[in-house]
């Protein structure tokens, strides 16, 4: 039988389909003038609170919507909707990440013409979401102080694919051996282009600088 074995060239990137859908989504968002932001982090790092703070800071300037991914609950979407912010809950049904098709599905349930910015709250996890292009214009990750300053060593891909690192919960710094300059150094080694902001989404400290950065990005996108 072995002499019958043939070799077939495949030469295919198995994520090519997702990349195509993601690129199509970016084109669609450019036409509808909606800035898509992908927010990734571990569970409990403060994604929802950071989203609420950020929107509070920029609400006068831009119209926001939120796409919530959660394994199987509506808790976060309800919190956001309670503030009068349009929110769609995507139930990922056990999936560990969002891919571009899931994002498309969520956006189809939103009125994009009435929104300038949609923030995707990705599934809480520093591994899987880093591997899948969501179709977002920019990707942002949060590392919170209680998680420890060794995370760039453990999850290098996440730091490599993010445009921004938000170091959250800096109000905990006094109670922790978390070293901000070590994290900055490690993150910049993995990704020299990463923008780093130190914030506390609870107290609001530092949120203005991050919100200014985002506002400039959105402004350039909308006027471009």
């Amino acid at each position: 039988m072995s002499d019958e074995v043939r070799l077939i060239d495949v030469k295919e990137d198995i994520q090519a389909d997702n990349v195509r859908v993601a690129q199509g989504l970016r084109d669609r968002m450019a036409r509808s003038k909606t800035f898509l932001l992908n927010l990734m982090s571990s569970p409990g790092s403060g994604k929802t609170t950071t989203i609420l703070r950020t929107i509070e800071e920029l609400r006068g300037r831009y119209r926001f919507g939120v796409l919530e991914a959660d394994i199987d609950s509506k808790v976060d979407a309800e919190l956001i909707a309670a503030r009068g912010i349009p929110a769609v809950q995507l139930r990922t049904g056990g999936f560990c990440h969002l891919d571009a098709s899931m994002v498309v599905q969520g956006l189809d349930a939103m009125d994009l013409a009435a929104l300038d910015v949609v923030i995707i709250e990705n599934v809480g996890n520093l591994v899987c979401p880093a591997e899948f292009d969501t179709g977002a214009i920019r990707s942002v990750m949060i590392l919170s102080v209680p998680e420890g300053d060794d995370k760039p060593l453990k999850y290098p891909l996440m730091f490599s694919v993010s445009d921004v690192l938000l170091i959250n919960k800096i109000d905990y710094l006094g109670f922790s051996d978390f070293n901000v300059s070590v994290v900055r150094e490690r993150a910049l080694k993995l990704n020299p282009r990463i923008e780093i902001f130190e914030i506390s989404s609870k107290t609001g400290q530092g949120v203005d600088a991050w919100a200014d950065w985002l506002s400039r990005q959105v402004g350039t996108f909308l006027n471009g």
């Binding site: 074995v5 990137d13 060593l153 080694k189 020299p192």
Partner: protein, 116 residues
């Protein structure tokens, strides 16, 4: 973890090519997986065995080659290879600069497959 989705994508691509080439059985699939992927080879095979039952690719062996992590120092225009555990402390071997960028070491690529 996302083993299931990645493995399903592999199977879909393999079956599509098998359908185009009048294949009776897929014996071996040669894959290139980035060193940065957290998926373990053994588990990709386990998921593949599960998903491929009843298809032309049932019992196919996944021959996985890891693609090394290659960084590039833009200042020296030098590319160099490093291990995953050295990534956080990587510096350019020539100028010792730490502003380096990732060239390869990500993703999943099907090179070719052996078929009957």
């Amino acid at each position: 973890m996302h083993e299931l989705q990645i493995t399903e994508s592999i199977l879909n691509v393999v079956l599509r090519h098998a359908g185009q080439h009048d294949v009776s059985k897929v014996v071996r699939i040669h894959l290139r997986v980035g060193e940065l992927s957290d998926l373990v080879d053994e588990w990709i095979q386990h998921y593949f065995n599960y998903l491929s039952r009843g298809t032309l690719a049932q019992e196919a062996e996944l021959a996985i080659v890891r693609v090394p992590i290659v960084l590039r120092c833009p200042a020296c225009d030098l590319s160099f290879q490093i291990g995953k555990d050295q990534l956080g402390a990587a510096v350019c071997p020539t100028c010792a600069g730490s502003k380096v960028e990732l060239v390869s070491g990500r993703g999943y690529f099907i090179e070719n497959m052996e078929v009957l």
